[in-house]
């Protein structure tokens, strides 16, 4: 695998995942260095979400070695992984619709963590100004774009060392997608490590340093965004219709 970094914060090796009898991930390997933005690119159903869920311990039947910030988390429970500082933003947002914006943020709150940016609601509101005006609003009364911002903000409240960001541009109007790209670039400037999954190559190209391409549960490519842009064969084989 190319593009490995010596200062890796998250390393995934030989990850296999199963839903019932279906073998979803085969020997997936990934790496992310501190402060990096790494994209996991692939089509719907390629295994992006399952990869993230497996890393977070949300898939029952998973095998492989996952190391995060020096800890082996391949058998840890989701809450233990989250407490080690790995944040997770699911693709379907999963806002607590009965809770207000501030309460949603409260659920995500964890102690400040050494080596990670420290987030407070006020700092998050500068990153996502829309949210500042709706502190008391119920999650269920927000638009898709607002929910997407809230779900990221909620995870950041845990002051994570790294976050898994599943399809941040999914189902959003192009205008909101642009705002999201700016927010991610802003996070990167803060030194936040981000592993994001995308189908939108353009979006991924805007924000990421490196990319892995996944197809049918296998990693087919790993390299810098520039290398991916130059590799016509990979793009044609795995990313076009």
């Amino acid at each position: 695998m190319t593009g490995s970094t010596s200062d890796a914060i998250l390393t995934v090796e030989a990850l296999n995942a199963y839903y019932g009898r279906a073998h979803i991930l085969s020997d997936v390997a990934l790496q992310a260095g501190r402060g990096e933005v790494v994209a996991l690119i692939g089509r719907n159903g390629a295994g992006k979400s399952t990869t993230f869920k497996s890393i977070m311990g949300l898939v029952d039947d998973r095998r492989g070695r996952i190391t995060f910030a020096g800890n082996d988390i391949s058998r840890s429970a989701p809450h233990e992984i989250a407490r080690l500082g790995l944040g997770y933003v699911p693709e379907d947002r999963r806002i607590f619709t009965d809770l207000t914006v501030m309460e949603n943020l409260e659920v995500g709150r964890q102690r400040p963590r050494e080596g990670a940016p420290e987030w407070t609601p006020e700092r998050l509101f500068t990153l996502f100004p829309n949210l500042a005006e709706m502190r008391g609003r119920l999650g269920g009364g927000m638009s898709g774009g607002e929910q997407q911002m809230l779900t990221i903000a909620r995870t950041l409240m845990g002051n994570p060392l790294a976050i898994l960001l599943d399809e941040p541009s999914e189902g959003l109007a192009p205008r909101i997608v642009e705002m999201m790209a700016h927010a991610i670039i802003g996070l990167k400037a803060e030194g936040q490590t981000i592993i994001l999954s995308e189908q939108n190559l353009h979006f991924a190209g805007l924000v990421s340093d490196r990319a892995h391409v996944i197809e049918k549960g296998r990693i087919r490519f790993g390299g810098t965004m520039r290398e991916l842009a130059a590799d016509e064969a990979v793009r044609r084989a795995y990313l076009t219709l």
Binding site: R43, N44, P174, Q199, L201, T240
Partner: protein, 257 residues
């Protein structure tokens, strides 16, 4: 006469107009795509056609007969088949039994308490499965199928009711690229050979531009464009509210939203 004629379709939720005076028609053998941004009213529109939501105003005519406000059950009996965005099949039955179940309902056999259900309509069900390429998996439980295969089963279930109109809600969502092409090509073949009209919503612009005969675009509950793919793609208003600069689809190695 058009298979489906929609006119002045309107629906409000709590004072907010979700769909405003939408009208269009679909001909037999035609694939019409309904696209638009999230929250544009596509789902509301769709659910008024299939009977899950009763329109406030406007009419929906199937081959000249009004179906507006009728229950999904009755609309199905009048010849409207559906596939769902998230597949809905009978998980505790085999693939074949799923199709047989639809046929039993279609032939009004479901109040039969005595005969063995699995012995009814087996050949017809198998023929339908064969047509969608699922005959080899006929005896597997639906609960264990791969997602793309479930979509095919759903298509066969929709066809089992001998529909005049097929409503497909994001038919290729969640599928692998090769499967998308196959499924839509299969759908196009089937509707042409049977003279079925198709209305589908879809986020994948590549699927839309490849397979739709015509496209209608919804924004904020209103129809803002209608026409063949090339014209809609070139429409500046549609680009502004939905397609954007074009950077998000149709790239070499681009996006399938």
């Amino acid at each position: 006469m058009a298979v489906l004629e929609v006119s002045g379709l309107t629906k409000s939720f709590g004072g907010v107009q979700a769909v405003k005076g939408v009208g269009f028609s679909v001909e037999a053998g035609e694939l019409l795509a309904l696209v638009g941004p999230n929250g544009a009213g596509k789902t509301t529109c769709f659910n008024m056609l299939n009977g899950q939501i009763r329109p406030d105003a406007g009419d929906v005519r199937l081959a000249g007969v009004s179906i507006a406000g009728k229950s999904p059950r009755r609309i199905w009996r009048m010849g409207v088949g559906r596939t769902f965005q998230i597949t809905a099949t009978f998980g505790s039955m085999t693939v074949l039994e799923n199709i047989q179940m639809v046929l039993l309902s279609h032939h009004r056999n479901i109040h039969d308490l005595w005969t063995r259900a699995t012995r009814r309509h087996a050949d017809a069900a198998l023929a339908l499965l064969d047509r969608v390429g699922m005959a080899s998996q006929a005896s597997r439980p639906c609960g264990v199928l791969a997602y793309g295969d479930l979509k095919r089963v759903e298509l066969a279930m929709a066809l089992a009711g001998e529909p005049r109109l097929l409503l497909m809600d994001e038919p290729t969502a969640g599928m692998a690229p090769a499967e998308r092409i196959d499924l839509m090509a299969l759908t196009a073949d089937l509707v042409r050979e049977r003279g079925i009209a198709v209305l589908f919503t879809e986020h994948d612009m590549d699927v839309v531009f490849t397979h739709a005969d015509r496209i209608i675009v919804l924004n904020r509950g209103e129809l803002i464009a209608e026409g063949p793919p090339a014209a809609v793609r070139a429409n500046p208003h549609v680009q502004e509210v939905y397609l954007g600069s074009g950077s998000m689809y149709g790239h070499a190695g681009g996006k399938t939203p």
